[in-house]
Symmetry: C2
Subunit: 217 residues, 2 copies
């Protein structure tokens, strides 16, 4: 059975999945990079960024690697795709990630503004979905096929929408030992137990506490 899942999503102790004031210079918002300190040293992350054979192994690396395992299609919110707001002024913005993004699969970007698909190097194709979160999930499931998962990459607002509609099967959340004070809250105002979600596993490294949250029915 394939899953709709969130993986490797980091939050602060005070519950923020990104800092405030996202911009070209600060894709993760102010202070947002601190959330991901558990990722950067790992072997999987460094390999993705072209540094073969270096980086840490162990719990954090396992979670980064598993976050990419068997992902057949992705869903991203508009703000995770870029800082452009409103109608697309032109076709020039192609994501934060350069010519060869780390997705290597179809990526469905939620937006209110239609735009033709953008094909990148390495198998990533950005599709722009204007019909809402369920249409995006239907298209992502179809693209992923019967054997692969759909990963909802983020950001926090997108994950919240899918949680509220109970469309996520499993989340891996990493809690980083930092306080942001403001930003994009992940859980605020969501009653996850009432929506059927519970913690089913947890483990901690020096850098983060990892929890698996699963929908029970």
């Amino acid at each position: 059975m394939t899953k709709v899942r969130v993986a490797g999503f980091s939050i602060s102790l005070d519950g923020f999945g990104a800092g405030p004031d996202q911009s070209l210079e600060d894709p993760l918002g102010r202070g947002g990079e601190d959330l991901h300190q558990w990722v950067f040293p790992t072997r999987t992350f460094r390999t993705i960024h072209g540094e073969e054979g270096v980086g840490t192994t162990g719990l954090d690396d396992n979670f980064v690697r598993r976050s990419f395992d068997n992902v057949g299609a992705w869903i991203l919110g508009r703000n995770m795709f870029g800082p452009v707001r409103g109608p697309w002024p032109d076709e020039s913005w192609k994501g934060w990630w350069g010519d060869n993004p780390p997705y290597h699969a179809p990526v469905f970007v939620l937006t209110h503004h239609a735009r033709p698909p953008v094909e990148m190097e390495g198998g990533t194709i950005f599709h722009f979905v204007t019909g809402g979160i369920e249409e995006a999930l239907d298209r992502a499931r179809a693209a992923a096929g019967e054997a692969a998962d759909v990963r909802i990459g983020g950001g926090a607002a997108t994950i919240r929408q899918y949680l509220q509609t109970r469309l996520i099967d499993e989340l891996h959340i990493a809690i980083s030992p930092v306080l942001l004070g403001e930003g994009e809250p992940l859980f605020a105002g969501l009653d996850l137990p009432a929506l059927g979600y519970q913690v089913t596993a947890h483990a901690a490294s020096e850098a983060a506490t990892h929890v698996i949250v699963t929908r029970s029915d």
Copy 2:
């Protein structure tokens, strides 16, 4: 230099320091006991409850033991003292903890309704403070003397008031791997970095992630 500190205060992954609907049967609110699973098996906790020589040692036990070290006076919110709301109907309610509460020091209870002090066994005296959080802290500091700390026991609303006024020097928070969905939020709406607070240490056991939050100036 003595400290005003919070210690051994547990929150859920979604940020609640107690569950909803506190009552006589449910002093910690619905689901609230789950927050404290890291405490119950420890040697220090079991010793406090009369079971000498049993219980776990290690990280969790160290944090429980240190939470009681050198505490010269306590401050508690009214709801942490009991489920009675409004004016005291009589003098019968003497806390949740029986004849010999685990404080063994003066305890200053925040309330809007005056009441004479209550002396318990084992050195605990409950004082009822109607003049607000600063008066309670002044009295607690005087009672603790020059060599001992003041511990703010909780609940979440009381800790929030002392954080907003920057009167807490250090917090030890334990994040338990559970979701409550609703309850008493600890950090919601507080910008701790803007108030001068940062994480200065962290460590995790199987049962909880422990963080130390310190005011920097």
